[in-house]
């Protein structure tokens, strides 16, 4: 698990979690199929893994120079607690950075459902987005 966590922290897909051929070989070299006298026989086994999709990498959106005077959409994905948390985020901006305009929006549908209308609205009206997942 430590290895998995390390890979994850590095942003590497769990698809890479299967060991290397060297590890699968147990570090044995040469004709490993020929057992020594009295040693258990050795043989190969097939991987049970499916095939992952290729990763399409996206460049991050250009950052803002400042958030002062900008419009930030606060999007609730529907998981519990996200809406109330975002209300507090909006309140913080009102108290501490009143030039920031916040717009609270609840994503339509249950949490796995896409909401292209909201994405279009954000693209048209927002300078930035904060999306709360909740839980």
């Amino acid at each position: 698990m430590k290895r998995r966590k390390l890979l994850s922290m590095l942003g590497i897909s769990p698809a890479l979690l299967i060991g290397s051929q060297a590890a699968a070989d147990g570090g044995r070299g040469g004709d490993a199929k020929t057992p020594d006298a009295g040693s258990p026989p050795k043989f190969t086994a097939l991987s049970p893994k499916g095939t992952p999709p290729p990763v399409m990498r996206y460049a991050m959106a250009p950052p803002l120079n400042t958030i002062n005077g900008k419009t930030i959409y606060l999007v609730d994905t529907g998981f519990f607690g996200a809406d109330l948390l975002l209300e507090q985020v909006a309140s913080w901006y009102q108290r501490n950075m009143p030039s920031v305009k916040t717009v609270l929006r609840k994503k339509a549908g249950t949490y796995p459902t896409d909401d292209p209308k909201l994405w279009a609205e954000i693209k048209a009206n927002a300078n930035a987005t904060i999306m709360a997942i909740g839980h």
């Binding site: 998995r4 922290m9 890479l16 060991g19 026989p41 095939t51 992952p52 996206y58 209300e87 997942i133």
Partner: protein, 436 residues
Amino acid sequence: MGVPAVPIITEAYLDLAKSVAAERGMPTLRIVYTPHPIWGKTPEQLRQVVEGPDPVTGKALMKEFSDALTAPLSPEDQKSGVQPVSLGPDVFGPNTADGHQKYFMDNGMTDYLPIIIPTEEKVEAMLKGTSHHPDEQVGRTGGGASGAWHYTVKQVAVNAVMAGCEPEFFPVVLAIASTGSLALGGSTTSFCYSMIINGPIRDKLNMNYGIGALGPFAQPNATIGRAWTLMGKNLGPGAIPGQTYWGSQGNNLNYNNIVIAEDEKGSPWTPFHVQKGFKPEENVVSLFNGWDLRQGHGAKGAGEAVPKFDAQIGSMFPTMTRMFNCLVILDPLTAKLLKDQGYDTKQKLQNWLWQNTTITAKEYRESFLAHVWLYPRALAGEEPYATWWKAPDDAQIPCWPKADNLDLVVAGGQTNAMFQIGNMNYSGSVSIDKWM
């Protein structure tokens, strides 16, 4: 979209957030964290969360937002394009039997019980259980956070060997795999899975639908169910705790799922697959997902003259989550007693249960995950969710939207008039014959 965005997630999901971002092509996504959990907190407590630090970095949470939205992009942030993903070797070893067992286990490819080691010879033998080409693509996972994985007949065969299946079981395993619904979903609420198998194949494979039908008493019941779990581990993004699996307590039913071969001869009713539009002679597997299984009996206690099976089955419904529907597994003895009560079809019993087991609208709205699963559908105007969400607190409403949300199946040894209820959703039925 070209608009800078920052997700805010509780710290419990740090690994998940990073791995999903990487799989979705954004390994350098800037993420802000809160303490876990945030639900159930008062506005004042949430104000303190917002004014406090990000628990991962220790820096002020609101400053983290500003930094994430304004910091210049690094060269790594600006990379784009298709990146292939390698899974490592297709073949492991040579190694000893013990060495293979350890390697498969240490790399999360098993259920932590010993496996049949999938040698080339055993996989070749398994492939003789189907007429389909080893390289034919069987299915794809549903996508979700990790994207859609795909898998071939041979990759499914490797998992079937590991589970202890015989080649003649293989078409059932392939039919399950063809749905793309692999067991071991990642929900924090620890899902379980169930299948109903109908048709002559039940007897051909010597499946158990008699005494101990749901227990560890027959190889096909045990290993076909186990294969489903191993496929969930291996053919998709895997059930890696903390990354792609988040069941808070886990689910013991995941070891081999709930495999039900319906007792079509012992049942007084239409077989399940015929209800779903298949012919009696067809071999079909039907899949479910949900939470749990609980047992019941019609007699309320000593001295009960006539067991009230219908009422007893229904009495369990209000305690179930509204997120899932209901699968009722009736011993043939119970089913016959219900028929004697006047339920000569499954539909009659479904209708009675649906109409006579209710909860209040307040209980409905306050039920677990109603805010996540039911409220958005009510907001969208979908019925009956919209009407039920607006109903007075004390209004009585059915436990599920329609009678068809209750599925009934018959299996058991008739040594006692038992029934079991699963809080589960029916997800579909597929042909096994197609994979022979």
